[in-house]
Symmetry: C2
């Protein structure tokens, strides 16, 4: 019995911000799951900054989205049908998979991952327990090699990844955690619930000046989610043998011209600094440590997060636009069913 | 019996290029060497790009030169007098030490290093067997972690450090060595004697374009001596998990405004690149390996170098100016005695 699924297609490469005419919601008829396959009804969709790069035609670390086909991305859903020869999955299971931006998907069972909804709500596997969590963990501890006692600076600290970096830094013994975010509501959250030492509102004054005020002796680690003036300020503040993990540059994702680069790279030589770009996909080796630590912290109530949620498949492009302009606090999600 | 020594003082902080009024040659009367001290008559002085930073008053990795005192720097000389309680040094020994920019120096014997003039001529200890050699070796092999088969790009490849990087890369199994330098005489030297695969004349066409032509598949390692457009071009060419060792930014040393930074740092994330600044002083651990390898290569005739030499203590500022404007091929030196 075929089912239908509405899916977001990219129909035109965006120029700058994604506009309505760049995407289209298209109804698909899905076949029954074949051997090894399952049908999943998505309940939560993830929107993430890296998707903006996939909307361009440029060669990048992941292939561009094809035009006139469903986009993909992280999603959590419930197994509705199980085809022949599928092991370890049953109707009703909650699974994490990569065919988001749509209501339903038929895909091989081995390309899904069953999640433990006793440990955390389903959508946490798109956040703290998922890709953003591992990104924060591996970027901070492996790429930037944070050590106990380090002074750590995190940009987009109220975002899905940044908010976890702040907390992991604190839990792993950073002497100070400095987070930047846009606006007083976000900075208040950083101070009140994430336990940062200093929260900087980058909209209130130049970030370089604020960073110098709260860290006159400099910083040891910078976790970069935004690039631009934050990166330049951080390079100016990094002290001897400091390390920056470059996770993304959300300030530039919608840019149509290459942004100016930091003018102070000579400090890399002077202070023997390391800038290292990374992608979570290269850090599968950190996953067991991450899951052990994170499950422990969750059980002890030591990790918190927020979600910014839009409702219904129709809201996905708006959720994505909002994400890139800082409209979210914590993880940006699209909920497809009111009670999920 | 007191001796005299002419020494170059910095008398004013330069603004841009060093001009005659920034420095003064001052006659000093030296005391006899005291306990543990020796008197050295310098025969060769080193001028090095890092000295430009020391002429500024800015906090940097080495203290600024004091005004109205002799500047210092690498020098080789002959021991003329030995004070009481000095072990292991005799009159006539050739030594390496740090009190350059002057004719003679009195200093503790333990702050000199006797050199083997059978293995190489004295001034080689200011070049291939000295600080530039260790800089090239540690920067390429430890900081940039060059592996056999890598495609390596080196800027200022006709300079003291760069010319050694090219040869060490080749000797350690780089699949291609690409060197850039200014002008056909230098690039010809790179091709004929240093054994590079491609020599790029950065004055002839944009370096980005030339690099793309000779390395359409990209590069794995970049050894940066100049910064600026070379660094941006290299970041654009570095492929997956590429590494850049940042040794200096000679293009900016005389700059009075901070130079524009590379506009393509987003590639650090896309290709998981590492940019790492370093100073040779942090790599003493590489010295034994370096000396073993380099002595072997010298004995087998596998390493070559050139020197650009000015004559007499009066020529030191001109040698330094020429160095910063690319007037040298290979190591820039000041010879204080015609037959040394």
């Amino acid at each position: 019995m075929p089912v239908t699924s509405a899916a977001w297609h990219l129909v035109r490469r965006p120029n700058g911000e994604v506009v309505d005419d760049d995407v289209a919601l298209v109804e698909h008829e899905l076949d029954d799951p074949g051997p090894g396959e399952v049908l999943v009804r998505n309940t939560w969709l993830s929107v993430d900054p890296y998707m903006r790069g996939r909307m361009n035609d440029a060669k990048s670390y992941v292939a561009p989205f094809a035009l006139d086909e469903p986009m993909d991305g992280g999603a959590v859903g419930v197994v509705e049908q199980v085809g022949p020869d599928v092991e370890g999955l049953a109707v009703g299971d909650t699974v994490l998979h990569g065919l988001g931006w749509r209501e339903r998907a038929v895909l091989p069972g081995r390309r899904t991952q069953r999640v433990d909804v006793e440990l955390a709500p389903p959508q946490a596997y798109l956040g703290a327990l998922g890709m953003p969590g591992l990104t924060a963990y591996a970027g901070l501890l492996d790429v930037a090699a944070m050590q106990e006692g380090d002074v750590v600076f995190v940009s987009a600290a109220a975002g899905a990844v940044g908010s976890l970096v702040c907390q992991i830094a604190r839990l792993k013994g950073a002497s100070q955690v400095i987070g930047s975010a846009g606006g007083p509501a976000k900075t208040q959250w950083l101070l009140d619930e994430l336990g940062v030492t200093h929260a900087l509102d980058y909209k209130a004054a130049p970030i370089r000046q604020q960073l110098r005020e709260v860290a006159p002796e400099g910083i040891d680690v910078y976790f970069d989610n935004v690039g631009g003036d934050h990166l330049e300020a951080a390079i100016g503040a990094l002290r001897l043998h400091g390390r920056a993990a470059l996770c993304g540059a959300v300030s530039a994702y919608n840019a149509t011209e290459p942004p100016p680069g930091p003018r102070n790279l000579v400090r890399l030589v002077q202070n023997r600094l390391t800038l290292r770009g990374f992608l979570v996909g290269d850090h599968a080796d950190a996953r067991p440590r991450f899951l052990t630590d994170m499950a422990g912290w969750l059980a002890e109530g030591k990790i918190t997060w927020r979600e910014t949620v839009t409702e219904g498949i129709g809201s996905a492009p708006e959720a994505f636009r909002s994400l890139l302009s800082g409209g979210n606090t914590g993880k940006m999600l699209v909920r497809l069913e009111p009670d999920s």
